[in-house]
Subunit: 343 residues, 3 copies
């Protein structure tokens, strides 16, 4: 990457203060700027970096500017945060998409591969799998029998997608995530546990992103479903027959047990556990590390293990921290009471 | 898959009510039945689906039937749940096992491969490894030096089995699980941590199933052991020198720290943590998210972090939720007491 | 492995009591010794195994010896634990390092590979990647564009290292760990979440070891950093822009959210969660399963969810367990108070 201040100002419609030929070759957070790098300042509390940053070019929200000249070259815009986003997206697009089938990929003759698809070396595509137009399948991916992947997806190295699972358009699956492994279903018998065949699949709707090292199990029968636009972080467990709605955000290391249903627009914190066979509504917030063991209504915020109302949990926790003091007060009351009795 | 109602009735010894030629091409949960699909009803609370399901054929426990005819074709049996299991197992078996060595597998010349073994493309089998009769090793698996895998195992794509680990017969290891990585052992020194070599292995006994993305570390010396018939869900951590007995069920994202011993027939919930160097008995239940930091006796049920008796935890938690009210009562008592003193 | 007692005594400068030709072919923990195996006794509480162990040769701290002869051959040393470590390290070194490029690795013509590097079959090395002298890259690893790996590293099978990430010297990355996956960053809009490009990288300094199945995300801009000498167990989540200092030990299944800064020499327990945008000092201990949601000062020990001072948490937890009794005492006080009022 190598751009001049004036090229960047052109991309985002900004006004240059300083050297329009200043060259940038990288991007830094403002706290750790480097010579030759670009950064941005969108908040008053970072404005002091205008005086001290080593960055060569800084995009700044115009209301934060008060002087005529600064050491770095400034690109003044209305909202530096938004402009910087625009720039990052543009840069990402410039990287281009990969396409073409690399040597050393193993693709079954009955698989159907769309136009402009990229398939990396050491990727294995099983019989009757379909990969939609413009999708990029990185090296060392496993794609099972009859899997369908939509258009413009990105499946990273080492992801495993088992037989008959379906992935929509514009999805991202990061490295080493496993989609469609067997659900955890066993019948107890006196001699041990007998496996219950897991014959369903996983359906992932459009615009879903799934982080690395996640496990999303196939349904026993029917489908485990991840709804449109839902974003899933790393190391997350989604058990068999779970149904997740649209536009949820689920943070790292959360786990959802079998057959639970989750609505839309929920925020589920890191390391949260949700038991099986319950219903979580929509617009719910579940605080990190909570253990949800009962239905949750729309718009509730819950916390604790087992989870209760967020405010109730915090109010109780304040007293929990104060329990030694509370017990002292009870001791005093008892002593006073005895004193009175002994009077 | 394509069967007629009369073929299915034949498999499970059921009696047809309706069209014996009704054709099914898939299976649905009864709550979301589809035309052309098979489902089952084994409980009274689902009996109303007899009137509304779109399924073409439904297997029903005979005691739930009251009419002479229904819209879907009915297959009446004694216990619809059991009959459906029989059918699913049958269907699974019909899928067949893979066998043969695919082109592009890398197998060391000193490795010993049993009869009817399947080894997929991009799988790497190291020197002196042994793979028993009928086992299926999917593509992209790594098998280290001197590893022994028994008969009729299934090792899914991307699993890694490190040097000298031993796996019994009829085991299943799901995708991206790592067996025999180094235990987490370091000696602190003033200059930093010095690695303690991890020279032991992992022994997995017969009939064990291990989910996806698990980490089961090799022993420092000796063996980390998973006992016969134990079933392990996804994303689980088993540290070095842990010994797990027979027929345990361990739910997703649980973790067991080094050198801990676990008996038989235990149920360990999701996201449970168990500290190192303790002993958990047999027939113990550990509730989800509990943190076990001390020995647990046979047949105990524990909960909480740190974990205590399940009933005690719940009783205390009720009061925890009620702490604001409890503190108000103490305030009142103190006020009354002062009032009396001031009288 | 096959050594005589006198060879072993030679390695560690020990004195033989018994048969100097006793042959050992393996190593056992003293609790489960086997004929033909070596073990060690460094503590008084294991000294009784001198009489009962089946091991052929035992290294023993000399102060634990009281007789002239024992059934197994004894190698007497000053500190049996240290001598045993020396021996294990020696044995590990004898195993040798792998080197050479195996057939079937895919290495871009612009990649720069140092001397004595091992690259296994099915490993994919992208353009302009650099791998330093003596490093071992096992089979089925993915190395992205412009990645730099230092000297004498070991990258295990199935690890994924994404574009432009940097790894120092003497690092170990275990199987299926993902370094440099996208950070979890999305902009909420009324139509759903819009991905924020993750354009930074991950920098891993020298002497770092990272367990299996970890996810270490690349920074949005700038770098996610793991400091020199830090050791990370399995299944751990490190989010974008986290900065971790030197010589930390982080136990399995812990998670650290975005932009948090961690000092040096901390001990972070298993399944700990640390929220984003906070600062944890140095020499801090965080107990297992704790949820840290605020800054932590140097040398503090914290526990609980949310985490508070370790001692405070334990003191409160004692009363938590006793809450039913405490509530009874309040009931009594209220009854007494009523009695008095009614007098």
């Amino acid at each position: 990457m190598e751009f001049t201040a004036s090229q960047i100002a052109g991309f985002i419609g900004g006004k240059i203060i300083g050297d329009e030929n200043a060259l940038i070759t990288g991007v830094s957070p403002i706290e750790s700027g480097e010579t030759g790098h670009l950064s941005f300042i969108a908040q008053d509390r970072f404005a002091h970096y205008l005086e001290t940053s080593k960055c060569s070019v800084i995009i700044v929200s115009e209301n934060l500017l008060s002087k005529d000249t600064y050491a770095p070259t400034i690109i003044a815009v209305k909202d530096a945060y938004l402009s910087f986003q625009v720039l990052m997206n543009l840069y990402q697009e410039m990287q281009g998409r990969k396409s073409g089938i690399e040597n050393g990929a193993s693709i079954h003759e009955t698989a159907v591969i769309g136009e402009n698809v990229y398939i990396g070396t050491f990727t294995y595509v099983s019989e009757k799998a379909k990969i939609g137009e413009g999708s990029q399948i990185y090296p060392q991916v496993y794609i099972g029998k009859g899997v369908k992947i939509g258009k413009n997806c990105k499946i990273d190295s080492g992801a495993r997608i088992y037989d008959y699972c379906i992935i929509g358009d514009n999805c991202v699956v990061h490295s080493n995530t496993v989609i469609g492994g067997d659900g955890f279903g066993f019948q107890p018998t006196p001699d041990g546990f007998k496996k219950i065949p897991q014959l369903g699949n996983v359906i992932i709707e459009d615009d879903v992103e799934i982080g690395s090292n996640c496990s999303i199990d196939r349904a026993t029968i029917g489908s485990t479903v991840i709804g449109k636009g839902t974003k899933i972080d790393n190391l997350i467990q989604i058990a068999h027959n779970v149904k997740i709605g649209k536009n949820n955000v689920i943070a790292a290391q959360a786990g959802i047990a079998g057959s639970t249903t989750i609505g839309d627009w929920n925020q589920i914190g890191g390391q949260v556990g949700i038991v099986g066979h319950i219903k979580v509504g929509s617009q719910v917030k579940i605080q990190a590390q909570s253990g949800v063991n009962t239905h949750v209504n729309d718009k509730d915020t819950v916390y604790g293990s087992p989870a209760i109302s967020y405010n109730d949990y915090l109010r109780s926790y304040v007293h929990f921290r104060n329990l030694p003091e509370i017990v002292k007060r009870i001791n005093n009351l008892e002593n006073n009471s005895k004193d009175k009795t002994n009077e």
